[in-house]
Symmetry: C2
Subunit: 240 residues, 2 copies
């Protein structure tokens, strides 16, 4: 039995986050292509933590002190770093027991804007059901936060948000027009989500870079049963 | 015959406008509920011009110099002004031959961010086909700019954008995920757009204020055959 529902809203871009009262909310950070998919993969593969940083210099400094340095700009790995922003850059043999510093075009910056939230949870299709189950027990308001692309919006982040709103409908009440839209898009995208998402400009951009394998991987449901959260400056799997 | 298509993109909120290169584009300002619907109505009813201003003080100053002062905050007319933000506040007998200064929660502020554009055109359902025909002759890129609600997004502005994208598909190529979404929403909303739009939080807000008549009016297609544009600081019907 559910005594009462909490509100869930969707923030479509980090540039809109000031419209949301994060201090009394938990937030899910979403950057399906590809930051949150990478972080979830790296942690599932045995990395100790992921530290999102904004600049290449910061990333280099962490790398100099023993972190794996992951740096991406415009969809490509930046020269001189250990990894880019492909989930295939973080296999177990490379990341097990290691800390990672990561800077990407969108997701790494977006998560910093969420720091005022009560808790920040990392969401991707790869750990979709684990996140959904975790959220069932939360009594706070919830903001699903899409990282988008360079300040704009991203179809694939919104589809994730729509799927999560539907999954959580027994527990949370969707609030605001962005939530209505994400639910509607999620319905429109059935039954063939992968084909539907080909219309995303970010998907098109990655396909042009020859990254179809990454796109397919990032749209895979429930590969991992983990719920990474932000603890201080780093993303970790709690109690692990 | 159409030689080549220009790009059309959709900006979902004034807070996202810095992502768009306005200087080489024409822009349509959209605030269906209710600023652009009011401006179109006032000009169609014989007003000489509408001057959007940001603050109540500015509006008062214009009123002191003979303008009709229209001021709205949180959906309601501000005390002491001649009009609020209802299209029924601008009948011919009141506005004919007059200049209007208008400040509203969203639209009046949004239009100021569009000033760098080559031309700013005022769009509403009330003058939908007139605007569409006007845009057929434009060779510039086009940005359909939704005013939204307090920095967030608005379903009804996006439905207008989707309708316009569809109407202009022979002339313009939709660009970016926001355009994909608006087209998808416009399709979802068929055939009963008025019922579908009841999900908009802004519609709900106005209905709670007893403004059903305003909502119905603002969703009416093609009442007027005018294309208001921004000329300097004021919105006018050109060559009139």
């Amino acid at each position: 039995m559910i005594a009462g529902k909490s509100n869930v809203s969707v923030c479509l871009s980090p540039m809109l986050s000031e419209n949301y009262s994060l201090t009394d909310s938990k937030a899910v950070i979403i950057d399906i292509l590809r930051a949150t998919s990478c972080w979830v993969t790296a942690l599932a593969n045995g990395a100790v933590s992921v530290h999102p940083v904004s600049t290449l210099d910061e990333c280099q400094n962490f790398m100099d002190s023993g972190y794996i340095g992951a740096a991406e700009r415009q969809g490509k790995q930046v020269e001189g770093f250990d990894a880019g922003n492909s989930p295939f850059d973080f296999p177990a043999k490379k990341v097990i027991g290691k800390k990672i510093a990561a800077t990407t075009t969108n997701g790494s910056r977006a998560i910093r804007g969420l720091m005022p939230a009560k808790e920040v949870i990392v969401g991707s299709f790869l750990n979709f059901s684990a996140v959904a189950r975790y959220l069932e027990n939360i009594e706070n308001k919830l903001v699903l936060t899409c990282s988008g692309w360079e300040g704009g919006i991203s179809l694939e982040d919104m589809i994730f948000a729509g799927a999560m709103l539907e999954r959580l409908e027994r527990y949370y009440m969707p609030s605001g027009d962005a939530a209505v839209i994400c639910l509607e898009l999620w319905k429109s995208a059935q039954p063939d989500i992968r084909t539907w998402l080909r219309r995303s400009s970010h998907v098109q951009r990655l396909l042009k870079l020859g990254l179809e394998k990454d796109v397919d991987y990032c749209f895979t449901m429930d590969l991992f049963n983990i719920v990474p959260v932000l603890a201080g400056d780093e993303i970790v799997i709690p109690n692990k």
